[in-house]
Each structure stands twice: as C-alpha cells, then as structure tokens.
C-alpha cells in the first residue's frame, strides 16, 4: 500500500525556490494499478522518486507498506528500496557488463535473497517473457523491446511489494510499447503487486484501476 499525505516538494536553485507540487495526497491499495499522467516537467518522476525513497519531500509523509520512508535514514531507505521496490526505466538501464540472466539476479543478490528457489523463479519469469534462450547474452545484443522485457522481469525478480515504472514505453514503438504494458499488467496482477506507472501512453489508461493526472502541482482525475 502506498500513502502520500500532504506532500510538498520544492527545489532551491539560482532562480530561487521552485515548488514542484504542494500538499499533495495519494493512496494506492495493494495490488492496485495506478497510472499517472501529466505534461513534461509536472513532477511525475519526482513523485516516483519520493515513493521509492530515492528523494525526500520538503514536507509531508510517505508511507509504503506501512513504513514511513521520511523517518528512515539514507541507508535504511536503500535497504527498504532493495527489498520492496522494483523499477522499470524509460531507457531500460540494464547493466551492460552483466548478461541478461545476471541482470535478473542482481536485485536478488543485493537483497541477499539469491537462493536457488529465487533463481528458479527469476528464470521462469524470463521464460514467461520468451527470452530464456537469450539468458547468456549481453544486453547490447537485444532489441529495445527485448531489453525492456528483461527490465520488467528484473523489476519483479526479487518479489517486491511495489513496482514503479517511469515512462516504460517512452523509448519503444507503439506495438512494442503496448506489449510491454500488457506484460507489466499481467505480471503485476498475477503477483498482486502495486504498480505505479508514469506515462504519456493512452494505452496504459485502459489497463489502470485508477488514472490520475498531475498538473500544476495538483493531482486530479482525468
């Protein structure tokens, strides 16, 4: 479960204080798929960073799975993220010097859950996305769609409670993007994960339990 209450985020730079959003509330239940729309620069990625504990709010509370992230220090937030969050990025961000299989196993190893059962599960996920025969290859041998499929599996390989996807189709063609979204939905729903997707894609809206729009620092429904 994700709970954001009275969330304010502001940056101070040479031009003075820049408020991204003020007093924002958001709630997502376990297993819910929430799609977040909004124009560029509206603060969608910032919101994901706050949910994952990568960044801290200027004011307000962030609770994920009952854990108040704002009360944790940097190390504790890292450990929390390691266990509870799965990430899918726009640019895939696979580790180029690790094979596909190793990329999947990395979150497991980082979270200390690199057991034989976990490995089997990760590889079965890879089979599910039709890439088990590419397990030994390096990411640069894969197409963009294949890379993103691996990224989706990686996000789920360590069985996190929440999956955050930041423009997962932004770097893919329409058909490939659609298949990635379908994959995300299938895997997330199948595993009962909370999925928060930041996107411009209209296709994503159709699979969402709830759609929110972030504009001028306010959340609203479309």
């Amino acid at each position: 479960m994700i709970e954001l209450a009275g969330l304010t985020k502001a940056y101070v730079d040479a031009g003075g204080e820049r408020v991204v959003f003020r007093d924002l509330d958001l709630w997502a239940a376990d297993g819910e798929i929430v799609v977040l729309l909004g124009p560029s620069g509206s603060g969608k990625t910032t919101l994901l960073n706050l949910v994952s504990g990568i960044d801290l709010p200027t004011a307000g509370a962030v609770r994920v799975g009952g854990v108040a992230l704002t009360a944790l220090n940097e190390r504790e937030r890292t450990l929390f993220r390691r266990d509870q969050i799965g990430f899918v990025f726009q640019f895939f961000n696979l580790i180029p010097t690790l094979t596909v299989e190793e990329n999947l196993l990395l979150p497991l190893e980082l979270s200390g859950r690199d057991t034989a059962a976990a490995r089997r599960r990760a590889l079965s996920l890879l089979a599910e996305v039709g890439l088990v025969d590419r397990a030994g290859e390096y990411p640069d041998r894969l197409s963009g769609g294949e890379q993103q499929r691996v990224a989706v599996v990686r996000a789920l390989s360590h069985d996190p409670a929440v999956v955050l996807a930041d423009e997962p189709t932004g770097n893919l063609d329409r058909d490939t993007g659609r298949s990635i979204l379908a994959l995300l939905e299938r895997l997330a729903r199948g595993a009962g994960k909370t999925l928060l997707i930041v996107t411009h894609s209209e296709e994503a809206v159709s699979m969402a339990d709830r759609v929110l729009v972030l504009r001028d620092g306010k959340l609203s429904t479309p």
Partner: protein, 841 residues
C-alpha cells in the same frame, strides 16, 4: 565472485585500452621508484659491506693525518691496559694486472696473527692456515671470484702497479668466504701482510690501528699512548661520514623517481574518475536497485585495487630490468664524485620489492578514493545530466583553486622555513600539487581567451574544440594538470641543470687560471693518487715554466669527523681567481699565505654550518690545532666541501712532501701544446700523468658534470613518459566518450577530415594551455630547486639562467605530447562510421 564484482571486472575488460594505460602508468611509476631504490641501495650495500669487512669488529681506531702512524704506535697501543686487542692496518689501491686483464683492487695490509678478533676471511681453520701463508714475503690472498676475474690461480704471480711503480705478489691462497655478505665485502680486495703492503704501496708507517677498547678510560689511555699526532675515533664513523656524502644525491634521485609515481597516480585518478563519470547512469541504476553507498564505493575501489595490483606486478618486472641500467649510472656517478663502489649487480631484497609494490597499490587506492567517494555519493536518480555534473564541477572550481593556492602557499612556507633536504622536497611537492589544483580554473580562463582565436583560424570547429575543453573539465582537467606539471618539472629541472652548468663554466673560466694542469693517471675507480716526486722536479725544470703551483689534497681528522684539506701554493695571480661569498678579501690573503688561517668552500660552510670567524680544529702531526676561518669561497669541485690551507702552512704541520696536483704558468709566448708534449716525453719513464691545458681540463670537468646528470635526465624522461601515458589515456577517454556526439556531427555532414581537425585541434588547444601554464610554473620550480633544494642538498649557490628558447621548448613539448596523444583518438574517430557511433555503447 559477486555479480557487482563480475560487472566491474568486465567493465575493465570492455575498456581494456583504458585499463591497459592505467596499468602501464602505475607500472612505470613503480618501476622507476623500484629501479632507483634498487640501484641506490645496491651501491650503498656494496659500500657498507666492504667498509664493514675492512673495519671488522673493532670498537675504535687509532689514526693520524696523511703521513699515517709510525710503526711504534702499534707497539705502544698494545701495551695499554684496557686495549683488549689491536691490529695494524695499511690500506691502498693498486692496479692489478693478471692474465684476465687489469683491475683496480684495494690492498688491505694486516698482521695475520693479530687479525682473529677483528676480521673473518674464511672458516676458523682456514683463517689460521691463511695467517701462516701470509707471513711469506710478497704473498697475497684474494677471493676465488676476484681471482677468476683476473684469471689467476693459487701460486700465480700477480703484477701490481702503484703511481707508475710496478711490483708483483704471489697468490698464496684463495679465500672462500662463509656467506654472501662476506663475499661482497672481500670482493676486489688483496689481503697482505703489513710489510708486503707497505712495500707494494711504497709507504712507511701504518694507516691505522684497529682497536677493541673496554672503557672510556681505555680510550683516554690509548690516546695518550698515541701521542699528539694521532687520534682515537669510534669505528664506523668514517663509513657513516662517507655514506652521508651521498645522502643528498640519493635523496634527489628518490624524489625524482617519486615524481614519476605521482604522475602514475594522477593517471589512475584520471582513469578512475573517467570510469565513474562514464558510468554515472549505471551507478545511479545500481543505487536505485538497492546497492548501498558502501557497495558502490567498494566496487570502484576494487577496480582500482585490480589496476594497482597488476600495475605493481608489471612495475616490479620493469623495475628489475631498469634497475640494472640505473645501477651503472648511479655507481659511475658515485665513483666520479665520491668513492669506489664494488657492487656491479643489483642487491634485491624482498623488503625493497614489497615497499615498491605497496607504494604503487596504496598510491592507486589513494588516487581512486576521491572518485570512488563521488561514485558512492551518486544519487539514485538514474539519469543525472552531464551538464549538471560539469556545472557542479565548475561551481567547485573556486574552492579547488583556493585549496591549490593554500597548498602552494604552505609548500612555499615549508620550503622557506625548513632546513632539511627531505622537508624541502615536501615543500616543493606541496607547491607542485597546489599548482596542479589551480590548473582547471586557469584552463577555463585560457579557453575564453583562446576560443575567438581558434574560431578565427578553424571556424566553428575551432570554437567547438575550445568550448569542449572547458565544457568537459571533469575529463580534460586532470589531463591538462598532469601535462602542465610534467612539462613544468621538465622546465624546472632543465633550468636547474642549465644554470648549474652555466655557473660551472663561469667558475672553471675563473678558477683554471694556470696554463697547464698535471695529475697522476688515476686508476679507474681509485680515489686519489699522488705525483712521483721525480716527476714533480722534472716538470718544474722546464724552461717554458714561469711559475709552479703545488696542491696537496688529504683527508684530516677533526673532532667533527674527517675533512678534505687542500694545501695550495698561492700567488698574486691566483688570488684574483677566487670568488668569495664571505670574508674580508683585502685582509685575508696575508694571514692565509702565512698559514695562520683557513679558507673553506661554500658547501663546507653549508654542511658544517660554519662561517667566517669560526675555528676549525685539525689533527696535525703536532697535535690538534685550531685555526680560524677567514673566508668562504665559491667552489663546485666537491659537494662534501673543502678546507684550504696555504701549501707552506700545510708543510709546517705535516711532514708530507707529496703533491696531488700541479699547475704550471708558462712564460709569455710559450706554445702550450708544445710544452705539454715536451712534459709528457720528459715524464714518460717516471709515471703516467694527465698533462692537460686549462681548456682541456674544463672540457673534462664538464663531461663529468654531464655524466653526473645523465641519470637525472633519464629519470626526467621517464617521468615525462608516464605523464604522456596519462594524457593519452585522458584524451582517448574524452574522445571515445564523444563518439555519439561525433556520430551526430558526421550524420549531419562532417567529413572524416573535419573530425580529424576537430579532435586534433582540441588536443592541440589542451597542449597549448598546458604549455602556457607550464612555463611560469616551470620557471618558478627552477628558482625553488636552485634556491632551496639544490642549495640544501649540496650547499652550492647557483646563478639562475633561463635560456630564451625555453619558452619555445616548453610549448613544443606540451603541444607535441598532446598532439601525439590525440593522434590515435582522431584516427579512430575519423574511421568510425556514423551508424556505429550513433549506436553508442
């Protein structure tokens, strides 16, 4: 291996050219440090072992001045209560001529039956047997290895030559030293009975008596028994004094070798920084996936550890090879300037190897720590913009410059306040590092100046090249700093050596006032030799000779250790050829000629911290005598320092008629070459002599000088190579990182030729900037080296002279290094197809 570590190792392999250059940088740095350490310590070990072998287990030694102790001194000392053991010693050098060819050997004349408590030559039983064979007339013992060099066997006769006199001794037996240390100590040594040694060396009396004394009272009693002409000194003091002589020389070499390592460390910093910057997105992803800061720090530092380990291993291999070459240069210099060194092979100790390897590894880790820390601080937001990184760096530039200024100022302060050679180097390194930290800020300013000029010459490509240097400061900064420092150090050392040479030339012009100089042909490697008195008489009798000067150079004991004393016959013409740094020139000559005052050289005054008005107590044959110092003169003849007394003053105090050098002033109009030929013919049957004109002597002195600095030049060159590798690595990293940008430009119509132009002009601009910064820094370093480091190391004051072509040289060096380093990246970039470039990594 964890997945993180696996990813890390593969990253090193994927970027193997970058990894290879970093390893090469560390390897070369470690190799230079190790090679210098091995060469210097091997020369030192050789000297120490031979000094210890010859000194034996004595606690004290009785000695006198140049004339030595009379034979009765030994008898008197043996009768003193408290003298547990006493052994007479006669030492000297001979040219030995065996069937295997000539060799310079040391002679150790001993009383075989007094030796047992002092020196061991072989096993106990062998020593007793050897003692009995030495009693035979004209017999000698030597080690099997020395005999092998001379192609001798037991029973053979060996020809020996001292100051032109020929003699022969019979090899009574071969020594078989019990261990390697003894073997090295006894190398090139002829052990003889005292009487045989005296006969071979043409001496009377003893050089010293080795003593084992029980108490301070025994020391006093022994001194009393010795009489006024002798003195009792603690054994080992002489060896220590000799080692002190080369300390500054050793230190200068070590400092220069450290510079090569520092450049290597710069290279590692550069390389690791680049790999961190290059992988910012990847590190961000890892952080987002849950890798902790400590894990990221460990990841980067682990990569550096691999570079350090492999680099150190490479350095050890290269260092051993380089060390043998440097040993020849080091021993040649030490022999030219100081004393004979018997070691011809590297003495390799595990500790030396471990220290060099540790230095490389620790240096690498220290250099990698800041970028590793920066990597650990990477925010988990995966895609931090390059421009943000560079903007952050630019914001930090004033702070970096302030740190540089502070470090340089502290370095200057240390240089000015410190008195030791080591601390002077610390100060100098502080100045160098401070200047390196200032270079990024100065580069930004220079690029603003150079951009319009580059634009005027090369159009938009030129402007892009100049802007690119400032915009990529995280990559270009360390490369430009390394090149700047390397070129500046090269200029600094060049100025120091050039100024020194210039001062030496001026000094030789002034000092070599006589027309012809004569000295005995010094056997290769021998310390001194004297003129045969018959030759002295013949030389003075030539009708073309108007005036004769005699010089006698000896080592004399003083309470503060032995000093080099020169008795010099002075005339009005010679007086004008002294440059005094202290003392009343109008007043000092009269008492000097009378022999009542001394003159000391600048290095002597510096090392012994003496000045005009101080007194120096010399151990004369009449007993200790304190004489005032009336003047300090400039002298580049010896860095140990020299004390001068008038020749008549010397003869009054020492019954020593021998002459070390003669100088002749010819009648006006005499043909110098003709006279030299005549003198050579006249002395041919007496003694082989070096009879040289003052011009020829100046040439010989300068060639010794150039030989002395050969090793400095070699090390300077090696340091420059390491710096060059650093620049090459940085430029390649920079250009390969821009592969996508260049691909876009190529796709938009940039021709391969234009890619060449842009890459080459960017590296050229970097070289130009480095040259412009290196020039003032190099001049400054030259001044600091002359005024502080050189002065404190050797005690010489040098007039600075910077040749005007230095500016061109510095610019050419920096530009050439940068352009050469840019060749390969430019070639690769021009050949890369736009499609491939746009695909990126």
């Amino acid at each position: 291996m964890t997945l993180l570590r696996r990813a890390s190792v593969r990253h090193l392999w994927v970027h193997r050219w970058q990894t290879g250059l970093a390893i090469l940088g560390v390897g070369l740095g470690v190799a230079v440090v190790l090679a210098v350490d091995l060469a210097v310590s091997s020369a030192r070990v050789g000297f120490t072992l031979s000094a210890e072998t010859v000194a034996g287990r004595s606690t004290h030694r009785a000695e006198a001045g140049p004339a030595g102790l009379d034979d009765g001194a030994y008898r008197r000392l043996r009768s003193v209560a408290g003298v547990t053991a006493a052994a007479p010693v006669v030492e000297g050098e001979v040219v030995a001529r065996g069937p295997g060819g000539p060799a310079v050997l040391r002679v150790l004349g001993v009383d075989p039956f007094a030796e047992a408590p002092f020196r061991r030559y072989s096993g106990d039983r062998d020593d007793r047997r050897h003692a009995s064979v030495l009693i035979g007339d004209r017999t000698t013992l030597l080690t099997s290895s020395t005999a092998a060099v001379l192609a001798l066997d037991g029973g053979d006769w060996l020809g020996v030559e001292v100051a032109g006199r020929r003699d022969s001794v019979r090899v009574a037996g071969l020594l078989d030293p019990a261990d390697e240390a003894s073997r090295l100590g006894l190398e090139n040594l002829l052990v003889m009975d005292v009487g045989t040694a005296q006969a071979v060396l043409g001496r009377r009396g003893l050089d010293r008596v080795d003593l084992i004394l029980e108490s301070d009272a025994a020391v006093a009693d022994a001194a009393a028994a010795l009489g006024p002409g002798g003195t009792i000194v603690v054994a080992g003091a002489a060896a220590g004094a000799l080692q002190d002589m080369t300390r500054a020389f050793d230190l200068n070499l070590r400092a220069l070798s450290m510079l090569a390592l520092i450049f290597g460390v710069f290279l590692i910093y550069n390389s690791v920084t680049f790999s961190v910057v290059q992988r910012r997105r990847l590190l961000g992803t890892l952080r987002a996936l849950g890798a902790s800061r400590r894990q990221v720090f460990g990841l980067v530092l682990g990569e550096a550890a691999i570079l350090g380990l492999v680099g150190a291993a490479l350095g050890l291999i290269l260092g051993l090879a380089l060390g043998s070459g440097l040993l020849r240069l080091v021993t040649r210099t030490i022999e030219d300037l100081y004393f004979v060194v018997t070691v011809r092979e590297l003495v390799i100790s595990p500790a030396t190897l471990a220290a060099a390897a540790a230095l490389g590894i620790v240096g690498t880790l220290a250099a990698a720590a800041p970028p590793a820390f920066e990597a650990a601080m990477t925010e988990p937001r995966a895609a931090l913009l390059r421009s943000e990184l560079e903007a952050g760096l630019r914001r930090r530039l004033p702070l970096l410059s302030l740190a540089g200024l502070t470090l340089a100022a502290v370095g200057m302060l240390v240089l000015v306040v410190a008195t030791g050679v080591e601390t002077s180097f610390v100060g100098l390194f502080g100045v160098i590092l401070g200047a390196a930290l200032l270079t990024p800020q100065v580069t930004v300013l220079l690029m603003r100046l150079l951009r319009p000029a580059a634009g005027a010459v090369l159009g938009v490509l030129g402007r892009m090249a100049a802007s690119g240097v400032a915009a990529s400061m995280s990559r270009t900064g360390p490369a430009i700093a390394t090149l700047t420092v390397a070129v500046a150090v090269t200029i600094g050392i060049g100025i120091m050596i050039g100024s020194f040479r210039r001062s030496l030339v001026d000094w030789l012009d002034i000092t070599l006032s006589a027309d012809v100089y004569i000295s005995a042909v010094r056997p290769a490697g021998a310390l001194t030799s004297t003129l045969d008195l018959r030759a002295v008489a013949v030389l003075g009798d030539d009708p073309a000779v108007a005036e004769v000067r005699r010089y006698r150079e000896v080592t004399v004991p003083t309470p503060a250790g032995p000093v080099d004393l020169m008795g010099i016959s002075i005339d009005s013409r010679l007086r004008d050829h002294f440059t005094f740094l202290d003392g009343d020139v109008a007043e000092l000559w009269e008492p000097f000629v009378e022999g009542s005052v001394l003159l000391v050289s600048e290095p002597f005054a510096h090392h012994r911290r003496t000045q005009v008005g101080d007194t120096l107590t010399l151990q004369t044959e009449r007993g200790p005598e304190s004489l005032p110092i009336a003047g300090v003169f400039r002298d580049y003849g010896s860095d140990r320092g020299l004390v001068m007394i008038s020749y008549s003053g010397y003869r009054e105090r020492w019954d020593d008629p021998t002459v070390t050098t003669m100088a002749l002033i010819l009648e006006p109009g005499a043909d110098r070459d003709e006279v030299i030929n005549r003198l050579q013919a006249a002395t041919a049957g007496i003694q082989p002599l070096n009879i040289r004109s003052n011009h020829r002597l100046a040439e010989v002195s300068l060639s010794v000088f150039d030989q002395t600095f050969a090793i400095t030049q070699v090390l300077r060159f090696l340091a420059l190579i390491v710096a060059f590798v650093g620049v090459l690595s940085a430029l390649m990293a920079l250009q390969f990182e821009r592969v996508r940008e260049l691909g876009v430009l190529r796709a938009n119509g940039l021709t391969p030729g234009q890619v060449w132009t842009m890459v080459a002009s960017q590296t050229g601009i970097m070289g130009l900037a480095a040259g412009m910064m290196a020039l003032p820094l190099g001049l400054g370093l030259g001044v600091l080296m002359i005024e502080f480091v050189n002065r404190r190391s050797f005690g010489w004051s040098i007039d600075m002279s910077a040749p005007p072509d230095l500016i061109l040289q510095a610019m050419a060096l920096a530009l050439t290094a940068a352009l050469l380093a840019g060749l390969y990246p430019a070639w690769r970039m021009a050949r890369t197809s736009p499609a491939e470039a746009l695909r990126g990594e």
